[in-house]
Amino acid sequence: METILALGIGVLAGSGVWLILRPRTFQVIVGLSLLSYAVNLFILAMGRLGSEVAPLLADRAAGDPAQYADPLPQALVLTAIVISFATTALFLVVLLASRGLTGTDHVDGREREP
């Protein structure tokens, strides 16, 4: 599972980085979204991977912490998702305003001279 997750994060982050270096605003916003998915998965991974483990301690028994999932990264991811969603929406508005005001979707607001 570690390999799959690592590959997933790597592919998402790689595509995201490539896309935010592109000149069109739409590519940039898709790149930012992909990057934020990669980061969210990365935060989850930092809580250690494990499947079918409960996030809370059962029956007041502390027991072995390895038997339980760490609930904190999940809370962090939730916050991060909400915030990145909001900022992406805000960026979308700016993107449209820029397209309307400058007449081009280039990130610099003007096409490169041929």
Partner: protein
């Protein structure tokens, strides 16, 4: 049982949030004047709160005047707000600049777009929260609050120049926020906590194999702050954004770079101070080098800039680079002087941003480029000589000229204003690492001193040139119409600089005490974690 007075420390976060929400309910367009009054009243109240917090922090023997445990949970398990000297000082500085910016905006600028006042309040909430919080992830949330508000404010008034600069600003900061998250989660993965004080207690006992990972996390995290602080080479977005933003917004943005610098200062000394074992002083040389490069870049940029708003933006870079380099020196004396410099330069820059708009108001766009071409081709003698004789300088221009000179003195660091004392303190403490008795001066200190002096010279040349071009060498300019209410904030900010000069002794002592408690953070850690600091059990964290 918590006393009522203890709730004072959460007021700088809750009050702007509440007032901003009320403003939104009142509506953006219809009740703009009510919102403006609310905004002025709130920022004035925040100044009072800031003064109270500074007094309290200064009076307490440890320098940490209070720890606010949200929800009443014990420290490492929940979010805390911590008021120490640095946090209280920065909250006070923020609210002072905020008052100036709001009063300035009321005359004219808050009318060019909607929701200026609510966004301004949310920005204040984010800035104050970032200074006060004692938790890394909470810091991320406050960062996002202040960034989201700042996106809206940078675009206030619209126009293609603002949209274009604003888009770069937003993309850079969104990418930096993602790096912030990566850094935070790496640190959490290694240390198992996000509480700053708890982190500081755990970092010395990290296993050797995990140390590189924790340091990588801290490095990535610091990039997010350094983007905000505008360290070279992460600063190319800054001049365009600051020059394009509406002037009251640029004035409060002068604080934003200091948010980055202050958080670097706090976290670096807390997590990687002398007590951090193998990680002590991690990354200090990068701060020093990066800060110096920023100063050089800012100085060259300010010499090359054609209009005054860009000149002000590059001066922001010089100021934040100086602070970063001084932090990177890692000496108590230099840090104290850097804090003094930070206050003085922030006040001066905020005044300058406001002043630039007043001066530029009477000029048609492109006049600066024309003036430069005229200088280049030697055409200045073409003017009709007879017109220039006997024109009295109008009172407005006289006032503007005097305030411009005061701004130039503060920013370039000439006597008699506070910029000079700040630079003098920086040089003295950098060149006398062991007090006045002498001792060996490091090569870095010499380079720092040279760069500091040269950047002052560059600022002086650039400011003088801009001043001559605007105030003396433009015969056919209309005198800008300036209201008293717009002049007053600039004058107050500069008067505060003058007060900082007169009261330099007590203020410098306060800064030195601040620097000392930052460099020896055991009081901070003890205040947050309680009297018994936990041993190294579970220090490797995770599961």
């Amino acid at each position: 049982m918590i006393r009522l007075g203890d709730h004072l420390m959460i007021v700088p976060v809750v009050l702007p949030l509440f007032v901003g929400a009320v403003m939104l309910v009142l509506g953006g367009e219809r009740s703009r004047n009510v919102n403006a009054a609310l905004n002025v009243a709130t920022t004035l109240a925040l100044v009072a709160v800031g003064i109270a917090l500074v007094r309290e922090a200064d009076a307490s023997p440890t320098g940490v005047s209070g720890v606010y445990r949200l929800g009443g949970w014990p420290a490492p398990f929940a979010i805390v707000l911590v008021v120490d000297r640095l946090a209280a000082l920065m909250v006070l500085l923020t609210s002072i600049v905020a008052v100036a910016a709001v009063v300035f905006s009321v005359v004219r600028w808050h009318r060019v777009g909607i929701f200026f006042h609510p966004l301004f309040q949310f920005l204040l909430m984010g800035i104050n929260g970032a200074f006060l919080t004692g938790d890394l992830f909470n810091l991320f949330v406050f960062f996002e609050v202040l960034l989201a508000a700042s996106y809206g404010l940078a675009l206030h008034g619209s126009g293609s120049a603002r949209i274009m600069a604003g888009m770069h600003y937003i993309v850079i900061n969104l990418a930096a926020s993602l790096l912030f998250l990566i850094g935070v989660s790496l640190i959490y993965g290694v240390c198992g906590t996000l509480n700053m004080a708890d982190l500081a207690a755990r970092i010395p006992s990290i296993h050797a194999e995990n140390r590189a990972l924790a340091e990588a996390g801290a490095g990535i995290l610091s990039i997010a702050f350094l983007v905000k602080a505008g360290m070279w080479p992460l600063c190319f977005w800054l001049p365009a954004t600051y020059a394009a933003a509406p002037p009251p917004v640029s004035a409060i943005f002068a604080i934003l770079t200091k948010v980055g610098a202050c958080i670097v200062l706090r976290l670096w000394l807390l997590l990687f101070g002398d007590a951090a074992g193998a990680s002590a002083q991690f990354g200090g040389e990068w701060l020093l080098l990066g800060g110096m490069a920023t100063v050089a870049f800012g100085a060259i940029g300010s010499l090359a800039s054609q209009d005054m708003a860009r000149l002000a933006a590059f001066s922001v870079l010089v100021s934040s680079g100086t602070v970063l380099a001084a932090i990177g020196m890692g000496q108590v004396g230099v840090t104290g002087a850097a804090l003094f410099y930070l206050i003085s330069s922030t006040l001066g820059l905020a005044a300058f941003f406001l002043l630039v708009e007043l001066v530029e108001r009477g000029r048609e766009p492109g006049a600066d480029v024309l003036a430069v071409t005229r200088e280049l081709y030697g055409e200045e003698h073409e003017l009709d000589e007879s017109e220039e004789v006997g024109i009295a300088i109008p009172a407005t221009m006289g006032m503007l000229g005097l305030t411009f000179i005061a701004c130039a003195l503060v920013i370039s660091g000439l006597p008699p204003l506070s910029g000079f004392i700040a630079k003098f303190a920086l040089l003295t403490s950098a060149l006398n690492p062991q007090g006045v008795q002498g001792g060996t001066v490091s090569a870095a200190a010499w380079v720092f001193a040279v760069i500091l002096i040269l950047s002052g010279l560059a600022a002086l040349i650039a400011m003088t040139r801009a001043g001559i071009r605007v105030f003396w060498a433009s015969p056919d300019r209309a005198v800008p119409r300036v209201r008293l209410l717009e002049m007053a904030p600039v004058a107050i900010l500069l008067l505060l600089c003058a007060m900082q000069t007169i009261q330099a002794g007590p203020i410098l002592r306060f800064m030195q005490a601040t620097a000392q408690s930052l460099h020896a953070p055991h009081d901070y850690i003890r205040a947050v974690l309680g009297p018994v600091v936990e041993g190294p059990n579970g220090a490797t964290g995770g599961t």
